[in-house]
Symmetry: C2
Subunit: 349 residues, 2 copies
Amino acid sequence: MKHVTVYDIAREANVSVATVSRVLNNTAPVKKETRERITALIDKHQFQPNALARSLIRKETGMIGFILPDITNPFFPEVLASFDRETRKLGYTCFLCDTVSSDEETERQYARESQYLGILMEKQVDGIVMIGGRLDLSKPDAALVREVEEVAKRVPVLMINGNLPNTKIHRVAVDQRLGAELAAQHLIDLGHRDIAVIGGFVHMSNTQQRIQGFRTAMRNNGLEVRKEWMVQGGFSVNKGLEFAEQVLNLPDRPTAIMCMNDLVAIGALKAADRAGLAVPAELSIVGYDDIPFASFSIPELTTVSLMANEIGRLAAEMLHKLIAGKKVPSLHSVVPELRVRQTTAPLQK
Amino acid sequence: MKHVTVYDIAREANVSVATVSRVLNNTAPVKKETRERITALIDKHQFQPNALARSLIRKETGMIGFILPDITNPFFPEVLASFDRETRKLGYTCFLCDTVSSDEETERQYARESQYLGILMEKQVDGIVMIGGRLDLSKPDAALVREVEEVAKRVPVLMINGNLPNTKIHRVAVDQRLGAELAAQHLIDLGHRDIAVIGGFVHMSNTQQRIQGFRTAMRNNGLEVRKEWMVQGGFSVNKGLEFAEQVLNLPDRPTAIMCMNDLVAIGALKAADRAGLAVPAELSIVGYDDIPFASFSIPELTTVSLMANEIGRLAAEMLHKLIAGKKVPSLHSVVPELRVRQTTAPLQK
DNA sequence: CACTATAATGTAATCGGTTTCATCTCTTAC
DNA sequence: GTAAGAGATGAAACCGATTACATTATAGTG
């Protein structure tokens, strides 16, 4: 029951290990007869070369580390899937590095990201992708950034969507500002002037950027941003429900709500339902992210796509180039798309 | 910029590599002074031992392969996350092995599972978890089963939820039959007698088992199963919509619909909406799976939990025991729970 | 003080492959 | 007939750790 090795094969085939290795990798001509003898033995013993030993000398492992904050958030599987699909064509396998677990305090998150970087380095991965988490804050963790830069010197690192202004780390990112601007402009085009913005965390860069985009659109149209209609502090359905109820209970209520993500938008849908407001007839709602569920809700959610597939695909493409030692631009920007569905409608006078 | 090794550290510290290894692993006493000299150098060079080399000789890699059919299906991230959470406490890292991509034909799926088994063996993972896919069919792929059994001889393998009657492979699985029975009984208790069952694939074991559970409940209550109300053939929202419309358009329409998963149930909700039927007042709907979104829909979906967290946790526990060489029961059955929410109500006469 | 147990360290084998270099045989060309 | 080039193979070094075994220094004991 012992594991069979090249030596076992070599001995039984009456050749040297070098020859076995040659048929394994097609790296040099081997006499047809010898090759057949060897492959027969390989089949017979179901021999599989030990990837550890191979990687040790080849200095490439075919492994890529994918660090993400929470696999349970439907956005991440989406980009991971598309990344993995591309990446596996070239023979890579991904390590999943999930940095938060819902049941743990956030303060351990940094340690987790840092810890994973260490593990991935030890395991000699060929490349690392990082998305979200501590690097997505409006003030990204300086120590972590420094660490990532240090890691990037030794192995190709690709950031997705992070907020890293003064750094040489390669990135692919959607233009969040533009996405929010598109959403806001859409509402404005429908005649809305009283627009609330709910959800998100002001200390997170994505929220900040989206709010900036919103403000830009408002300014471009000469509209005023009312601060009692800006309610931030969470990304969940329940928070969305809470925030939406808050703005809908104001004496002066908005006619449209722009949500910082789809979960919040779903919460807002709930709030509208509870308040007896018809969507989109009496209240327009737009989400952000275009999670798979966005097109399943009733009514179907108008939202801004995070371009998960495109991001994953591009990330794979860039990382492979980096691994191959090719030059790549340090930032690849992806243009978001507005998905107009059923939760937005022209303002009714 | 060359990678530093134990030899570099040893040379610079004027000791042998053995001593360096000792401080690295705390495997034998080292003079305090020497230890400090070495750790200082380790810090200085940010030395990290090469896990490949270590694993090669230790014969353990701290890597676990997790084979699943589609990370985009929200159930899988859920169990993966809880599995990973447990497993990482013990120093393991998971390979993600996603066997299908939406854009590829199903016939390549078996090759993918088989291919991943090969890759994982080569990479010398300490254990493998398999969930769904080709092993979840009512007639599981015999060749694959044989292959899995072969693999299981060399490395601990744990199945989640598969359908493997005559095999010694260790499994943790929810009792699907019981879950469906709970759901059906719930509807019956509410006074429903005319119950449709939509969604699923009859060639998949989970669908088969759930339908069995449904029949059991009906039989126990002396109710009749009407075959025009049994519509199978898909697991998606759109299919659910289609199937629900089909049964709702029958001259003799059911008062409750039991769906083979939550996506189908969401489709059914849509169908009810289009047909102008109030849920749950005029139509009760129950789903299956309890995906995260189930509690976000409006109204919130009554459904059967797949116990993703519990499954993941248990799988981790069992696999660790297997890796440690301990005896474990070959099947650990998990009892499903009915989550009663807002889409079911007493039958209105 | 001699003797033994333990601490501290070094030497070299080992894990299982790949790869360089050397050797030998066999064509093919001139 | 011999030199050159390609084909086929083997011996041994190597990747970077761990560890069995050997050796020396130190401490403790009677």
